[in-house]
Symmetry: C2
Amino acid sequence: MAVVEIRISLKEGVEDPEGKNTKKALELLGYNVGDVRVSKVFTIEINEHRDVLEVAKDMCKRLLANPVIHNYDIKLVMTDDEKAVQ
Amino acid sequence: MAVVEIRISLKEGVEDPEGKNTKKALELLGYNVGDVRVSKVFTIEINEHRDVLEVAKDMCKRLLANPVIHNYDIKLVMTDDEKAVQ
């Protein structure tokens, strides 16, 4: 068993409406903020015997990320042998 | 100017429907996965002269996080003086 964190973020140049609205709301509350971007992190327990990072990359390509608008970034958080790699 | 990353995640024990659906979809694709949890990361440029981490904490309390269901975690990514702190 291994745990990976997959971060899905919007590519540069792609509109981020949620970020824009968050910026507006923060400004209405009186904060002086510049750009706000929102990304999503999937924390996934993987029980495969193949290379976990390869499996995670595959998941991004097949389901989690849309290559037109998203970048993805994979981090191994824990494996069976060594706990808390990062 | 400073950039912070604020990660909003569901507290343990709180249902994560998006995570559950992602798990189902991954299983349908043939992956052997355990728990899947989803969290959100706000990357925010802050132009305040106060302590940036305090400002970010304040934003979480007032807008970004719901204390009933969310935990938040703040990371300073960049400040004017020292680029790429982490």
